[in-house]
């Protein structure tokens, strides 16, 4: 009984995707953006969907710095598709977000793996302006990644707004990252939703700061199960690497009879 089931499921999923007009894994397979950590990429079925919206939020208030770092890291990851000419990253903030928690700092982003010459900054007065600008930027086919940063839990980005952003990202074939200053209970049409926390790094042999470590928690994944991982970011190589979490085996190893946890 179980032998035919995954195949049937796969076929049905592709059928649904075809009806919804969503590109399937097969179509986008070579352009997926893998994080480079096997466990995460397995859950994401190969990597982050390129033409889609992804949400990032800090787990706690104090994790905002780490969350921004994670966004920079995702934008800094080299695009796998060869011949991709789009390299610029647009970071949009509302004035309030910039005032409350600062702006991306050029030299820091440079060192973290995202060269300053690829970074464009835009500040807008209101959250609705941010959504508008983000939609236009995603649709323009001019940018590799668009990061939109909303203060607090970003209530302006509700289901309708995120749906619009998702469609814009699909139409413009760009990666959209929605960064909220607090995780939001709102439903959203994002492809994945991440909660990022800072994790203690492994000090180097002199007792100094080690590589940046993130405690990632994937709380929503439209195409697979969720999970939690501990990863380190090597800003020289622009690569993530897994750190052991020391908990039970990752969720992907569960038998397929167990219902998948779907969030959002």
């Amino acid at each position: 009984m179980t032998a035919g089931k995954p195949a049937t499921l796969d076929r049905l999923r592709q059928e649904v995707a075809r009806i919804e007009g969503v590109p399937t894994t097969m179509e986008t397979g070579d352009r997926l953006r893998p994080l480079g950590v096997a466990a995460i990429d397995a859950v994401l079925q190969g990597g982050l969907m390129p033409a889609a919206l992804h949400e990032i939020a800090p787990a706690r208030m104090t994790d905002l710095g780490a969350t921004c770092g994670f966004a920079v890291a995702l934008a800094a990851r080299p695009a796998p598709a060869r011949g991709e000419k789009r390299r610029e990253v647009l970071w949009i903030q509302t004035d309030f977000a910039a005032l409350e928690s600062g702006r991306p700092y050029g030299p820091g982003c440079d060192l973290f793996g995202l060269p300053t010459r690829r970074l464009l900054l835009l500040t807008v007065p209101r959250p609705v302006d941010l959504l508008w600008a983000m939609e236009e930027a995603l649709r323009s086919r001019a940018l590799a990644t668009v990061i939109g940063e909303l203060p607090q839990d970003g209530t302006a980005a509700d289901l309708t707004a995120t749906r619009r952003l998702t469609l814009a990202a699909r139409e413009g074939d760009s990666l959209g990252l929605l960064l909220r200053h607090q995780s939001s209970p709102l439903t959203s049409s994002a492809e994945t939703r991440w909660q990022v926390a800072a994790a203690p790094s492994r000090p180097d042999r002199f007792g100094g700061l080690g590589c940046t470590a993130f405690a990632l928690s994937l709380t929503k994944n439209r195409r697979g199960p969720t999970g939690r991982w501990l990863v380190a970011w090597d800003h020289h190589e622009c690569a993530f690497s897994a750190l052991s979490l020391g908990v039970a085996a990752a969720a992907v190893d569960r038998p397929d009879r167990t219902p998948l946890v779907r969030a959002g």
Partner: protein, 516 residues
């Protein structure tokens, strides 16, 4: 063109009272209120400008009197000049109450000079302004005809004959010189024109002769245009005014096509484009949009104005509608045609256009690139340069310190924020714990200090250096903090009970950036 009754027209336009009541405008001259302007009804009573208000009041008790407002008069004149843009791009002010229009080559568009003058007067009269128009081959002659005769058209070659019977004041010369001329019996321009030139120049100055030459067309005089004359213009007039935003935008799109054809012929593209909306009642709105690269694509021009209208649209009240829309390229640059990649959109062009549109919507300062500066102070090490400008590429930051973690934060606070409750084990060392935004942080790992001194060669010697630390707390929070000594003034109570002002250096701690 002379607006005969500018001041009184302005006041009468505003009030609903009929214009046949005598109205005078007074201004203080040498300590007495004198009549500066008056309307036709008042002129019919025999009042003249310059008469003291007291005399006028004594003669006619029922006069309406208003204070002169030079600013308001000037604003109205500028508004009328704006409106006159519909006839020619070359409009100059002839303060305080005249306008100079260079209609060379424009008159035939309005059915000839006579029809044009009629059109101007009719439209101005509808707006409640009385104008007298003189059309002539020279600026001086036209102005003299408008102000000192009944107006009208002076055929080419008849300037001398037309000017002859007019008073010398018509030459726009200093009234003081006119007075001197009158004393010697030179009351007409004809008297001047026939005199030997040298004695005139010696006695009344070179200016008089120059004015004379210019009026007669011996010397050239050009009008100083109020606005720069755009190199490319496309415009459309409507028999019935239009008011819907869609119609306006549709017209802009059509005009953009015409404009692009014009620019393509000369191999140029627009850097600065302006839409002028001429409202039927004379108000003119001007909406500007800039482009980072020379632009010659009608669709993109339309999209730019779509964004501009979304922002400023509410400020443009269409009222009874616009009867003319003009699109002009104010600044144009050379733009070579490029071979477009067959079908494949060029991301670079798309990016330029996106930046233009975001700039049109939110302001061009708001979309910026980061350019590294050769500065020590961290907040000055990066400049935000508007992305529409061609900036020199940023040099990558050198990671000069031997650390696994980046030495600069990915995020910088707008201003360094004070942190309190700092406890450090070593006097000049990193803190062990601190409070920031009402939360405790216990430092697990710290790297530093990295001393960043102020740039003494810029005269910042009284600012103390900052000692930066990169810290990580037990749960992984990373921040970039610094210590800076600052002078503190406080009162100290001494043993004998007296207070004493003490100034001493105290270490202050700040959190400057969030690291990842």
């Amino acid at each position: 063109m002379w607006l005969r009754r500018l001041s009184t027209d302005r006041i009468e336009r505003r009030s609903s009272a009929p214009g046949d009541a005598p109205l005078i405008v007074v201004e203080p001259v040498k300590g007495a209120l004198r009549i500066a302007a008056l309307n036709d009804a008042a002129a019919a009573l025999g009042l003249t400008p310059g008469l003291p208000l007291a005399d006028a009041r004594a003669r006619y008790t029922s006069l309406q009197v208003a204070q002169a407002e030079l600013e308001a008069d000037r604003a109205l004149l500028v508004a009328v000049a704006d409106w006159c843009d519909r006839y020619t791009p070359l409009v100059g002010l002839d303060a305080p109450d005249g306008l100079l229009l260079d209609i060379t080559g424009c008159a035939h568009l309005f059915g000839g000079e006579r029809a044009m003058a009629h059109d101007v007067m009719l439209r101005l009269a509808r707006q409640g302004l009385q104008a007298r128009i003189g059309i002539a081959g020279t600026v001086g002659c036209a102005s003299a005809v408008a102000r000192f005769s009944k107006g009208g058209i002076v055929p080419p070659g008849e300037e001398t004959a037309t000017l002859a019977p007019l008073p010398p004041l018509a030459l726009r010369i200093d009234p003081e010189i006119t007075r001197l001329l009158a004393q010697t019996g030179l009351r007409r321009i004809a008297d001047l024109a026939t005199r030997p030139r040298a004695p005139l120049a010696a006695r009344y100055g070179q200016d008089l002769l120059r004015r004379l030459d210019r009026a007669f067309g011996i010397e050239d005089e050009s009008i100083t245009p109020r606005l720069p004359v755009p190199p490319y213009v496309a415009e459309r007039r409507f028999p019935d005014p239009i008011g819907r935003e869609d119609d306006v935008l549709g017209t802009v799109a059509q005009l953009a096509q015409e404009l692009c054809v014009l620019m393509e012929r000369r191999g140029e593209g627009a850097r600065h484009i302006q839409t002028a909306l001429f409202r039927a009642d004379g108000k003119v709105y001007r909406i500007d949009a800039g482009a980072g690269q020379p632009l010659r694509d009608p669709e993109r021009i339309r999209r730019l104005f779509l964004e501009r209208f979304a922002v400023v649209g509410d400020a443009c009240d269409p009222g009874f509608g616009y009867d003319m829309i003009r699109l002009s390229a104010l600044v144009a640059d050379r733009m070579d045609p490029v071979q477009s990649g067959l079908g494949a959109p060029d991301p670079q062009a798309a990016l330029t256009h996106l930046i233009d549109r975001l700039g049109a919507r939110f302001g061009r300062q708001r979309i910026a690139r980061l350019v590294t500066q050769d500065k020590h102070i961290p907040e000055a090490a990066v400049a935000m340069v508007p992305a529409a400008h061609q900036a020199s590429p940023s040099t990558p930051w050198e990671d000069e310190q031997d650390s696994l973690a980046p030495i600069r934060p990915t995020r910088m606070l707008a201003t360094p924020e004070r942190i309190d409750g700092v406890l450090n084990e070593v006097p000049d060392g990193a803190p062990v714990r601190f409070t920031w935004r009402d939360a405790f942080y216990h430092v697990a790992i710290a790297e530093g200090p990295e001393r960043i001194a102020p740039e003494w060669w810029r005269g910042e010697s009284n600012v103390h250096p900052r000692d930066y630390f990169r810290i990580e707390t037990g749960d992984g929070f990373r921040a970039w903090i610094f210590r800076q000594d600052r002078l503190c003034k406080f009162k100290q109570i001494q043993d004998d009970g007296t207070e004493k002002d003490v100034v001493e250096l105290k270490a202050h701690w700040f959190l400057h950036g969030l690291m990842a």
